[in-house]
């Protein structure tokens, strides 16, 4: 059974419809990538899954139960955590406090401060600094660590490569398989598809609020992906 099953999900900003009947499945232990151009609706999709945007109750199923439209703080407590686009560290909290706030709901599991420090040793050295004083790559590590502190069953990552140098992106992506190995399923969203396709078991391409392609990235040709991505 799917850990996350999305069935005919629609999402709106006022009168503007941003998602049109999204269908998506993610099994426990899987890594799924969602790719798509600017404004395709990727972040909107994550906002609906995390409860920041209203959704029809039955259009999102988590572990078999309908969760569409449930309050964001309750969704987190159920085990879905997000690394938001732009990292969104809390500016008046230190690096360590940013991680601690991730554990606010005290969900039990393998992830603790010490585990995050060993996953990202550079953060440990800067634990007392304000989160926003870190470099972009370190901030992204802190944002991932903060989400892990809730011991999620499903981790959603919104464009973790955004604005980072390729070597930094490579380092971040190297950390992801270790997270999956600890029992967290992963959904990564990217515009820059190179890294995402390498680690994904399955890929979905969004365009203008619809899924235009899905499948195993090893069997999809570059041409088909390009067509689905750009609508060529």
């Amino acid at each position: 059974m799917s850990l996350l099953a999305v069935r005919g999900l629609e999402a709106f900003y006022g009168d503007f419809q941003a998602l049109f009947g999204i269908e998506l499945d993610l099994d426990a232990g899987e890594t799924v990538a969602v790719i798509g151009a600017n404004g395709a609706g990727k972040s909107t999709f994550l906002r609906a899954v995390t409860g920041l945007l209203p959704a029809r109750r039955e259009s999102i199923l988590f572990d078999g139960g309908p969760i569409g439209g449930i309050q964001a703080h309750e969704i987190l407590a159920m085990g879905i955590a997000m690394v938001p686009e732009g990292r969104k560290l809390f500016p008046s909290l230190s690096v360590e406090e940013n991680l601690r706030i991730g554990a606010y709901r005290r969900r039990p599991g393998p992830w603790t401060l010490d585990r995050v420090w060993s996953l990202f040793p550079r953060l440990a050295e800067r634990r007392r600094q304000p989160g926003t004083s870190l470099s972009g790559g370190e901030q992204q590590m802190a944002a991932i660590g903060r989400a892990l502190m809730s011991n999620p069953r499903l981790l959603l990552c919104d464009e973790i490569s955004l604005g980072l140098a390729p070597v930094v992106v490579r380092d971040l992506y190297r950390a992801l398989p270790g997270i999956v190995a600890e029992g967290t399923s992963l959904l990564v969203i990217e515009q820059d598809i190179g890294q995402a396709l390498k680690i994904a078991d399955r890929v979905y391409c969004f365009q203008e609020g619809r899924v235009t392609l899905s499948g195993d990235p090893t069997t999809l040709t570059r041409e088909r992906i390009a067509a689905a991505y750009f609508g060529a």
Binding site: T50, Q71, S92, Y104
Partner: protein, 290 residues
């Protein structure tokens, strides 16, 4: 005229102003909300204290925990039931709603208690003072008030810096949406912040009422003093609020010593001076830091 005595008395009065301002500062720091009924809630607390003291015969200071409990509960419900619904990107709705509350509270108090001035009697405590040598003496009541103010601000600071709840307050203050993604029920957090703010209002109300007489129309003046203390000290900085209260108290006391009619004016002038020279306040901190 003994100026040392004047400054000390002004500084102790400043402790009361810091208590007036503490709840306002907290609510602004966490929710970016300005409560225009703040002063009226201070006066309301004084009347609740009066009712308890008259009903039970207990000492006014002993009534503080009860008034705190009542006001904190009312603050939670007010925020959860009403103010959360009007908080948003637009700052006007909460201003209008709390202004409405200001009018309602004043009129209710007038209806129930009439316009007569009231007081809370503390007996010997009112005049008891501590002689500290060199001809100086400090009243026990102002001293207790000042100590309460320092204790309240230190406790708030500890709460914000050291506890999980404080962390949630600061995170919510920084970025409410991301705070929700951390599993924080921000409506509950806002209501708790208001409960704490109103608890401080209750302490301030009783300590105000044992110092001077009060009547239903006294709220707006208390609100002004609270505003001035917050802005002199710097928005959202708790120790700054204490410093702001002390500066306000001292300048008022100096003004009163020069001529009784210009005490309050002196305080307002100090406020304008700071606003003019340092609009960000003396210890500015736009976020609730620990």
């Amino acid at each position: 005229m003994d100026w040392v005595q004047v400054v000390i008395q002004g500084a102790l009065l400043g402790g009361l102003y810091a208590l007036f301002a503490g709840g306002l500062s907290l609510a602004f720091g966490i929710m970016r909300m300005v409560n225009l009924a703040h002063g009226d809630f201070i006066v309301l607390s004084a009347y609740i204290g009066l009712v308890i003291v008259q009903g039970t015969g207990m000492h006014p200071l002993a009534a503080i925990p009860f008034v705190v409990a009542i006001m904190a509960a009312a603050g939670y419900l007010l925020q959860r039931g009403l103010l959360n619904r009007v908080l948003g990107d637009d700052i006007m709705p909460p201003l209008l709603v709390t202004f409405g509350f200001s009018v309602i509270v004043q009129n209710l108090l007038l209806e129930i208690f009439s316009a007569d001035t009231r007081g809370l009697q503390t007996g010997r405590l009112l005049t008891a003072s501590l002689s500290v040598g060199a001809g100086l003496s400090i009243g026990w009541l102002p001293l207790i008030t000042f100590a309460a103010s320092v204790a309240v601000i230190a406790a708030l600071q500890l709460l914000l810096a050291r506890t999980s709840l404080g962390l949630a307050f600061r995170a919510t203050s920084d970025d409410r949406t991301t705070a929700r993604l951390m599993g924080i029920d921000t409506r509950h957090i806002y209501a708790l912040a208001m409960a704490i703010a109103m608890g401080i209002v209750a302490i301030a109300g009783i300590l105000f009422a044992v110092r001077t007489t009060f009547d239903p129309a006294g709220g707006p003046a208390r609100l002004i003093f609270a505003f001035e203390a917050v802005i002199i000290g710097g928005m959202g900085s708790l120790w700054g609020t204490l410093a702001g209260g002390i500066i306000l108290g001292v300048t008022q006391a100096i003004g009163f010593a020069i001529a009784p009619g210009i005490g309050l004016l002196f305080g307002h002038l100090a406020f304008l001076l700071v606003l003019f020279a340092r609009p960000q306040g003396l210890l500015p901190r736009t976020r609730m830091e620990g």
